[in-house]
């Protein structure tokens, strides 16, 4: 419990010098027709190198906004963000992003979609073609490299999108509800496979989801966010073995974590029992 307290402490978080991502006192206001929308409120968070951190929260709690600010795609209203020790002022190029939609280009083959990342970065295409084929093989797409996205299933396309995010070997992966559009069974398999792949590749992962069990299953730490304006309610340290298997879900430890997070949401009024029950 002391560990959890230490990590929730904004001052302590800010002082971690080895952080892959450091978020200090970040808030975000949007101006819209309905007036000022307070999306993110005073969030502080540090993610260590090689860590797998999930952010879980209800829809509209600003978790995607936070991810976009870390990627430098959206300016902060208040506070500062650093990625790999460098302050974020514009789009951060030293990372890979996967969105809920695979965003593969319909007119490019799977391999060429992966290599788009290489072309745009002006890297050596020939050299990375080998790596692309290797990675595609590891996610089970070896035979589909020359197919087009509309010939593949949603899960397969999302695997290709993950390979595209990994191809240039970035240290940090930002995942914005990457499996949210997939069916439950595909989603479980994708989660397990992605966890293994990101561990093998030694990546730091920030993973956004609205699934409590997915967050606990994948992460070292789970950041629980409140409804809008999104602030960090608690950071839960997941005390489970580093290797993850489906069987972990049957463990009492796993249930203890998901129950704890569910109760946080109940306390915030995000989850409600049926009236009279």
């Amino acid at each position: 419990m002391t560990e959890v307290l230490r990590l929730t402490d904004p001052a302590g978080a800010a002082e971690r010098s080895d952080a892959a991502v450091s978020v200090r006192g970040v808030s975000k206001h949007f101006r819209s027709r309905q007036g000022d929308v307070h999306a993110v409120d005073d969030v502080s968070l540090a993610i260590g190198r090689g860590e797998f951190v999930s952010i879980v929260g209800p829809s509209g709690c600003g978790k995607s906004t936070l991810l976009n600010m870390i990627a430098g795609l959206l300016p902060t209203t208040e506070g500062a963000i650093e990625v790999a020790g460098r302050p974020v002022t514009g789009p951060v190029h030293e990372l890979g992003i996967v969105f809920q939609q695979h965003l593969l280009l319909a007119w490019r083959t799977i391999l060429n979609n992966v290599l788009l990342q290489i072309e745009v970065r002006r890297l050596d295409r020939a050299r990375y073609t080998e790596r692309a084929k290797n990675l595609l093989g590891r996610v089970g797409l070896a035979e589909f490299a020359d197919r087009f996205p509309d010939e593949l299933s949603g899960g397969m396309n999302q695997r290709a999108a993950i390979v595209r995010a990994l191809i240039h070997d970035p240290e940090l992966l930002l995942m914005d509800e990457p499996f949210g559009a997939l069916d439950a069974i595909t989603r479980d398999q994708m989660g397990l496979d992605f966890h293994a792949l990101s561990r093998q590749e030694g990546k730091t992962v920030l993973f956004i989801t609205h699934s409590i069990s997915e967050a606990v299953f994948l992460s070292n730490r789970v950041v629980v966010m409140s409804p809008r304006p999104g602030r960090i309610e608690e950071i839960v340290l997941v005390e489970l073995p580093r290797e993850r298997h489906f069987a972990i879900r049957d463990e009492p430890e796993f249930a203890r974590h998901t129950r704890h997070i569910r109760r946080l949401f109940e306390r915030m009024g995000v989850l409600k029992e049926r009236h009279g029950a």
Partner: protein, 272 residues
Amino acid sequence: MSGPHPLAFSAVEALDRFAVVITLAVVLLVWELAVDLAGIPRYVLPAPSDIWASMVAHAGSLLGHSWVTLLETLAGFGVSLAIGIPLAVLIVYSRIFDRILYPILVASQAVPKVALAPILLVALGYSVLPKIIVAFLIAFFPVVVNTVTGLASVDRDTLNLMRSMGASKMDVFLKVRFPHAVPSMIAGFKVAIALAVVGAVVGEFVGSRSGLGYYMLLATGNFDTPLVFACVVCLTVMGIVLFYTVGLLELALARWNRAALRASETAGAFGS
């Protein structure tokens, strides 16, 4: 590749095509018989056989005048592409063009371009230039609008993804926006080429010494109604051929542009 080749016809499709030919043949037959039995004078409504005879008799002139109209149409269409596409790019990339020029352009569609033909005649005389300009004015709008729509309809997350990769504006244009816009652009070109024929003929009606529009007026003056119909047939054939040529361009592009392929599949082999 899964599924049949887009050019391959199934038996049902073949019957479908055949049905069109049969229907046309029946219509022509009824027309022929009706004119014959009712004794309608040829100068009011000629029978299909009269039109065919006229086409054979005036084949040389019809081809010559068709050639003139075809060139005017293609020139007008070409200019509408040469000006319309760069202008669409400016509208998508420039706030000023988007905010000021685009609304004016849309509003300008209320101006009947056909009504400008006499003004152009006064200014430019009997040359081919006023015909090309009318064809251009009338074909230009669908080119601009469809190109703007195609270029601007790229998903915001895709643009964010490109930004995070460090893509330049040129990268985004060449690798994402332009290929994404191709199906929409070709749909606009199909409308534009059909309209360009109309523009060229209207230009010829107003004042010219050659082209199918001129030849039709000449035939009308002589009460040679079969020849007028022969001109209409030539115009129709020209319109169909041009439309299908643009459709073929779509199929050729579909080899690399899967989005275009899907668009053409949902709209039939050549769209509509």
